[in-house]
């Protein structure tokens, strides 16, 4: 299955946006800060992921399955809300060259402790369970980053013995 990505910024849900190009870090973080600036939150944390030069790659490339990303993100919105916090996320689809950003997440909360705990849990769960697949781009070819990928929660169901 070959997927062709058009140039777009798509809001999959409130506070979840996908971009068909590398992320504009200044623009996105500035927008998020402004959006929440008058809501009386004291702590605003952003995590920005940038493509590193490693193993001779020229870029990384990403596939995303949007329906389940949306469900996953909405569960996080609910969890954040229960603690009085907001989560936000942006991710690129397709190729992102070295030194460009592919991923930004943010947690905004009234006080620092909730924000510090949530950013850690949010980013780690993102790595483990967001339905996003990463490929090394070497000599223009996409190679699935199998060794760095993690089976999602619930993986292996198809080879389990049934009860």
């Amino acid at each position: 299955m070959v997927i062709k990505y058009l140039f777009y910024h798509q809001f999959v849900g409130v506070d979840l946006e996908l971009h068909s190009e590398p992320l504009n870090v200044d623009e996105i973080t500035s927008k998020w800060y402004k959006e929440t600036n008058n809501l009386n939150y004291g702590a605003f944390i952003t995590f920005i992921g940038t493509i590193r030069e490693e193993n001779g790659i020229e870029a990384l490339s990403f596939d995303i399955y949007k329906p389940i990303l949306k469900t996953w993100f909405e569960a996080w919105q609910k969890r954040a809300k229960e603690q009085g916090a907001i989560v936000k996320m942006a991710h690129s689809i397709g190729d992102v060259p070295i030194n460009k950003s592919s991923y930004i997440s943010a947690v905004i909360s009234p006080k620092r402790r909730v924000a510090l705990d949530l950013i850690d849990e949010f980013v780690e769960d993102f790595k483990a369970n967001a339905p996003i697949w990463k490929y090394d781009v070497i000599d223009g070819k996409r190679v699935y980053a199998k060794d760095r990928s993690t089976p999602m929660s619930g993986a292996g169901i198809l080879v389990k013995e049934s009860n």
Binding site: M1, G49, F62, D63, I64, Y65, P67, I68, T71, H91, S102, Y103, V123, F126, K127, A128, N129, A130, P131, I132, W133, K134, Y135, Y144, A145, K146, R148, S149, T150, P151, M152, S153, G154, A155, G156, I157, L158, V159, K160, S162, N163
Partner: protein, 73 residues
């Protein structure tokens, strides 16, 4: 009939299958040279909700997604 989508790096087109349970899908994938390795490490969603019970019964028109190991960011 249900539709089965193979996401991300699996790189196969969707197929339509006449199956009633995930068990039948499991048997199909374990017997496919292209799919048996993915059966081991993939998660499964039915109508975009992750399912963890292999005895889950399928209904006509269900969309099944096979989700291989992920790595966002």
């Amino acid at each position: 009939m249900v539709k089965v989508e193979f996401l991300g790096p699996i790189g196969l087109d969707s197929i339509e299958m006449d199956i009633k349970s995930l068990k039948e899908l499991s048997i199909y994938m374990k017997n496919s040279n292209e799919l048996k390795d993915w059966a081991i490490n993939s998660a499964v969603a039915v109508n975009d909700v992750i399912v963890t019970d292999i005895n889950y019964e399928l209904k006509d028109g269900d969309k099944i997604s096979i989700l291989p190991p992920v790595c966002g960011g």
